[in-house]
């Protein structure tokens, strides 16, 4: 068959059932991405005879005789960018960039009418990072980028590669002899594998190996990755003979083709002995409940993270500050309610994926989509008993993470396959795999009781938190502790009691998710604070102002013990004032007309420690290259968080030069000695500090070398864009001579001390009492990010966080049925915000400069998510009089709660679903 692809004639026959997406990728057009493989997300958009189509749902044979254009063919033959590509660079209409090729291909094929109606025109183009404002600006050809170091809107170094499709994500490399892996997954919520008959699978032509628990190392580990191994229980086997949730991987089939691997999986015969299962965490804590992880014998390390037996309680928080009963007795008003937070999924557009091979030295190389390359290497070394120098883990560009990639879900299987077969292997999750076999936010049930005096002063705070960690304990303890921390310690109150449990159930394991427990507990605390304010007749902002911590106040949740969090800066007061003022001022959309529409305002605040506790390590090295540019090596990963841009800006500022002289190598265990990884919002505040230290040391060394070479004093030397200046003399970087020690330096940061960052969200909403629809009339978000290193990017992080949080507040719920099966397995049944769903958010920055963070900066990537749902629910409460204690606030649930027959007062809305989702 003949095709014309990006102007070149191609003779090739696609497989009969092949879609155009994989056909194009097979030909090397890696700009064509897979986000969903189901026609929902648009990441694979190409043009066929000038018409935009989603190539994943386009039969490849239909393109015969037609002209196909991918992102790689959009630019002119002379290499000049298409105007839309240029516009996406100018507005920086991307973050991780995984949707960008499809977004640009879509935007480039809109007519004028469609450009005026982007909500409809882009409804088949999902972006999980940006919140769409930056994309709208790109389509409108607004320019945001500017030259400069710290404080300027420097563009992301990866931008040109992203808009042309040249940036290589995890699987965008060609490897000869690649084998393909597909997973067999458990249909049972709890079962023992009696036997696996591989014969029929192995008989499938092309099947090379079938890997089961018999092939897996006995070593226990956790898929959750932390600097401290003991943070997560060693409760997981690579492939186990006991399965604890529907969807758990049971076997891996390795084959020459994806089709053969799939057929192999279908032909596997697994004999299960079903075991009793428990889905509800409250039930799982009762005596007699089936125990998921009885103490293992002879497996794992007894000193590390083995869950207590015989119980499903993975971790407990018990905080007793002051006398809570006395505090409630002292109160003039009490408020008490139960909140249920649902399971939501990260829905990063690049699914989990890993490629593995043995390099020329026999070293295992894993190229994967991870936030934590070094911690993944550590886990692989432990699992396969290999020394660190025998394993290399590296990332390409990573297509989003949101915490989901602080987890090892595919790398271990790929490593096993490579080590077993000696062949290169790939495992790529489907979108369905993401829902049934990756992780989610922890569902939580939170009972809150607050007491306050008539003047608003809190007299006591009490929380009971039950967190459903699912079948495995990855991140279970950390999320519970973190969730109960800053959400409570942000309030000054003498009496606090917190009881929290993270509980195993036979459901999909939860994991790290943006906010790391704070979004759930903050929803409960901030909703309760709002309700308490109403009962006291106080304005919501005044209630908070009365009680929120201020510099000098101890930050206490469960313990008054000394810790390493300090007020490196404080802008919570500014944030609260700004949001309150914005909601009071004119602005936003007018309320819809009609008596059925009621309006209301709401706000909520959130605090976050700028770095995870107990050490988060980064190494950086910088070296002056012979060409006069600087090679900066960092370990931290870039997955759309924008840290690479800022690291370049920090380096340029410290070296007195421009960002285009900084060449960054990153996310590779060969790059530096160690890096904890890109989680806990540490890209700027930890890696940035290491970079700053390295660059400052190099600047000193360069001044010394230049002074020697120029025969002047080092004090007279100043670094500038192109070299070192002393008086009128300029010695270019390229002409600097290395005398003795090389012109290179290293920097390290251990992640302590830590500071605090703040976010306040405000909404004005209109609610249709008849249909249950919500319209957001005004959205304003104030953030205290310290000194803002790159306002454009930081704004983008906040807008993206607000949008993702609106998804969880308005639409998203990952459902699990009574047998433990995930029932929402596609993006069309798990609705993440599309262009039409996200309002404009005004972003306001507090003016602070942090004494702890590098150059005054604080972290700002997880935290914007945290106050959003509570602010929205508070606004809906203001409008309707109904307090929603669960999410999402979808029209059907709002309608039900507004019915005269619905119970009055609080807690009127039942959770979105029942079994398995506490």
């Amino acid at each position: 068959m003949s095709f014309t692809i990006n102007g070149t004639a191609v003779e090739r026959a696609p497989r009969p059932g092949q879609c155009l997406r994989t056909f194009l990728r097979d030909l090397g057009w890696f700009g064509v991405k897979k986000g969903c493989d189901a026609g929902d997300c648009g990441a694979c958009t190409v043009a066929v005879d000038g018409q935009a189509v989603q190539s994943c749902i386009y039969p490849a044979f239909r393109a015969e005789g037609r002209a196909v254009t991918t992102i790689e063919g959009l630019a002119g033959e002379d290499g000049r960018l298409h105007p839309v590509q240029r516009a996406f660079l100018d507005a920086q209409g991307f973050q991780c960039g995984f949707c960008t090729a499809g977004m640009i291909m879509t935007a480039a094929h809109l007519d004028d009418a469609q450009r005026r109606d982007l909500p409809a025109a882009l409804k088949g183009s999902l972006c999980r990072c940006t919140g769409y404002r930056a994309i709208a600006d790109a389509v409108a050809e607004r320019v945001h980028v500017e030259e400069g170091g710290v404080g300027c809107n420097a563009p992301a170094p990866a931008g040109p590669g992203l808009v042309t499709g040249a940036a290589a994500f995890t699987l965008d490399v060609r490897i000869d002899g690649l084998t393909h892996i597909r997973l067999a997954r458990s249909p049972h919520a709890h079962a023992r594998v009696r036997s696996i008959d591989r014969a029929a699978a192995l008989a499938v032509p092309g099947v090379i190996a079938v890997l089961t628990h018999e092939d897996a190392p006995p070593t226990l580990y956790s898929s959750g990755r932390h600097e401290h191994e003991a943070d997560d229980p060693f409760d997981t086997r690579l492939l186990d003979d006991v399965v604890r949730f529907v969807g758990q991987r049971v076997a891996a089939v390795v084959a020459e083709t994806e089709g053969a691997a799939e057929e192999g999986v279908r032909r596997l015969v697994v004999d299960y002995e079903a075991l009793p299962a428990v889905f509800d965490p409250e039930a799982a804590m009762l005596p007699g409940a089936p125990v998921l992880h009885p103490r293992p014998s002879g497996l794992g390390e007894p000193d590390v993270g083995v869950p207590p037996s015989p119980s499903n309680i993975l971790a407990t928080v018990k905080g007793r500050i002051g006398d809570v009963d006395a505090g409630f007795a002292e109160a003039d008003t009490l408020f008490e309610a139960r909140f249920d937070l649902q399971r939501v999924q990260h829905a990063h557009l690049e699914t989990h994926a890993a490629l593995g091979w043995l390099d020329a030295d026999g070293r295992l190389v894993i190229r994967c989509s991870t936030q934590v390359p070094f911690l993944t290497r550590r886990a692989l070394c432990r699992l396969f008993d290999l020394p660190a120098d025998k394993v290399r883990v590296q990332c390409g560009r990573v297509g989003g993470g949101f915490g989901g990639k602080q987890e090892m879900l595919v790398e271990d299987i790929v490593a096993l396959a490579v080590l077993r077969t000696g062949r290169p292997a790939v495992l790529e999750f489907s979108r369905q795999d993401q829902f049934i076999g990756a992780t989610s936010r922890h569902p939580m049930r939170i009972d809150v009781k607050l007491g306050a005096r008539a003047d608003g002063e809190l007299t006591a705070m009490q929380l009971r938190v039950v967190s459903n960690t699912g079948a495995y304990g990855n991140h279970g303890a950390g999320v519970l502790h973190h969730g109960c921390n800053e959400s409570v310690s942000v309030y000054r109150c003498a009496n606090k009691r917190i009881d929290g449990h993270a509980v195993y159930t036979n459901t999909l394991p939860a994991g790290a998710f943006r906010g790391y427990g704070l979004s759930q507990v903050t929803f409960a605390v901030e909703s309760a604070m709002d309700e308490l304010a109403r009962r006291l007749g106080l304005a919501p902002a005044a209630m908070r102002r009365r009680n929120m911590v201020r510099p000098g106040d101890p930050m206490i949740s469960v313990s008054a013990d000394k810790h390493d969090v300090e007020y490196g800066s404080y802008g919570l007061d500014q944030c609260l004032d700004a949001v309150e003022a914005a909601l009071a001022a004119p602005g936003g959309l007018p309320a819809p007309t009609g008596a059925q529409w009621v309006t209301g305002d709401g706000l909520a605040l959130a605090m976050i420690d700028t770095i995870p506790p107990r050490g988060h390590f980064s190494n950086a090295s910088i070296r002056l290259r012979r060409d006069g540019r600087f090679a900066l090596a960092v370990g931290t990963a870039e997955f759309g968080n924008g840290s690479t841009t800022v690291l370049g800006q920090i380096a340029a500022t410290a070296l007195g030069t421009a960002v285009d002289r900084i060449v960054i190598e990153q996310s590779d265990t060969d790059a530096v000695s160690h890096d904890t990884g890109a989680y806990g919002s540490t890209g700027v505040v930890v890696a940035g500090r290491a970079v700053l230290r390295a660059c400052e040391a190099l600047a000193t060394r360069i001044r010394k070398a230049a002074a020697d070479q120029m025969g002047v004093s080092p004090a007279s030397c100043r670094l500038e864009r192109d070299g070192v200046r002393s008086g009128t003399a300029l010695l270019s970087f390229a002409d600097l001579e290395e005398s003795g020690s090389p012109l290179a330096a290293e920097g390290f940061f251990d992640g302590t001390p830590r500071s605090v960052a703040f976010n306040v969200q405000g909404f004005r909403v209109a609610v249709n009492r008849h249909t249950g629809e919500i319209r957001i009339l005004r959205s304003v978000h104030a953030a205290d990010a310290g000194r803002v290193m790159n306002p454009m990017q930081c704004r983008g992080q906040i807008e993206g966080g607000v949008a993702q949080a609106l998804g969880a507040a308005l639409f998203e719920h990952l459902d699990i049925d009574a047998e433990g099966r995930v029932t929402t397995t596609t993006l069309r049944n798990y609705h993440i915000p599309a262009f039409a769903d996200v309002p404009h958010t005004d972003v306001i920055f507090a003016e602070t400069a942090d004494t702890v963070g590098p150059l005054g900066a604080k972290s700002m990537s997880e935290s914007p998510f945290n106050p959003v749902a509570a602010a929205l629910a508070n606004a809906v409460r203001d409008a309707t009089g109904v307090r929603f204690t669960s999410l999402p606030l979808s029209p059907d649930r709002i309608y039900a709660a507004l019915q005269p027959s619905a119970p009055k007062g609080v807690a009127t809305a039942e959770p979105a679903l029942s079994a398995g989702c506490a």
Partner: protein
């Protein structure tokens, strides 16, 4: 996504292939649904595009759409000015969950045969008195669209039968029409999609889709009162209200009434004007 179990594509099927239909066969229209989900039971695709049917035929009898007419073609077609009800086409296209990129490949017949409650081409064809022509190996038969879609993912097609075309009579096309749609997110999958049409005599036909597992049709000699409408809609059995992540049945039932009232009011107001 790749359908790796497919061994053969019949790109130029003939009517004789209808008789040779066997387990593991699927008729391929646009492919936008077929390629969007795993289909491990399938072995052979028969490309309806290979028949080469003309997409749109408009004449004195009305409008005949080939099953393979792409949604983008229908939307781009210029109807005669007195076919007032064709104003519904744009609204129904916009009600499709897929974007214009899906319109470029998805077909009218594919949307109807998929028989999703929210299928907007089903709504359009049912509201405009559409009649399906079904082909089988030994002949053809006609079935009203209202009877063709029998439930969620359930149609009147028998094994080996295909949808050849949908005919919309000119009498329906000349009626005035109003459409209301609602979903749990601004441009999400329809939770309810209702269409009303009115004849010159003031007779009103209301078609309920999306909120119910199959289309329901209510004919009134004149615009009904709110009570009259409510009583008529009570004929929809409670179990017929669809229950999935795109809307709970109690809400669907409620908004069906609301949207129905809005449609009646719009059409009645137009009649008075």
């Amino acid at each position: 996504m790749d359908l790796n179990t497919i061994q053969t594509v019949v790109t130029r099927p003939t009517r004789a292939d209808l008789g040779g239909w066997r387990l593991g066969d699927a008729w391929l229209a646009g492919g936008s649904w077929l390629f969007s989900e795993p289909q491990p039971h399938l072995r052979r695709l028969l490309d309806l595009g290979g028949f080469g049917w003309p997409s749109i035929k408009a004449d004195a009898e009305g409008l005949t759409l080939a099953a393979t007419c792409r949604i983008a073609e229908l939307r781009g077609w210029a109807p005669p000015p007195d076919w007032t009800a064709t104003a519904l086409i744009d609204g129904c296209c916009r009600a499709l969950l897929g974007s214009f990129k899906v319109w470029n490949v998805a077909t009218v017949g594919g949307n109807i045969c998929l028989a999703l409650p929210a299928g907007p081409m089903t709504a359009l064809a049912a509201a405009l008195d559409g009649v399906c022509t079904l082909w089988s190996a030994d002949g053809q038969r006609s079935v009203p669209v209202l009877d063709f879609v029998r439930g969620e993912r359930l149609t009147a097609l028998r094994p080996g039968e295909i949808l050849r075309s949908i005919h919309l009579p000119v009498s329906a096309l000349r009626r005035r029409a109003a459409l209301r749609q609602i979903s749990l997110s601004p441009l999400g999958r329809s939770g309810a999609l209702l269409i009303g049409t009115m004849g010159r005599a003031g007779d009103l036909a209301l078609t309920v889709t999306a909120s119910t597992v199959r289309p329901f049709r209510f004919d009134f000699p004149a615009p009904p009162s709110a009570d009259g409408l409510g009583t008529a809609l009570d004929a929809i059995p409670p179990a017929a209200y669809h229950d999935d992540v795109h809307g709970r049945p109690d809400w669907r039932r409620h908004v069906t009434r609301l949207l129905g009232r809005e449609i009646v009011a719009e059409l009645a107001a137009g009649a008075r004007a």
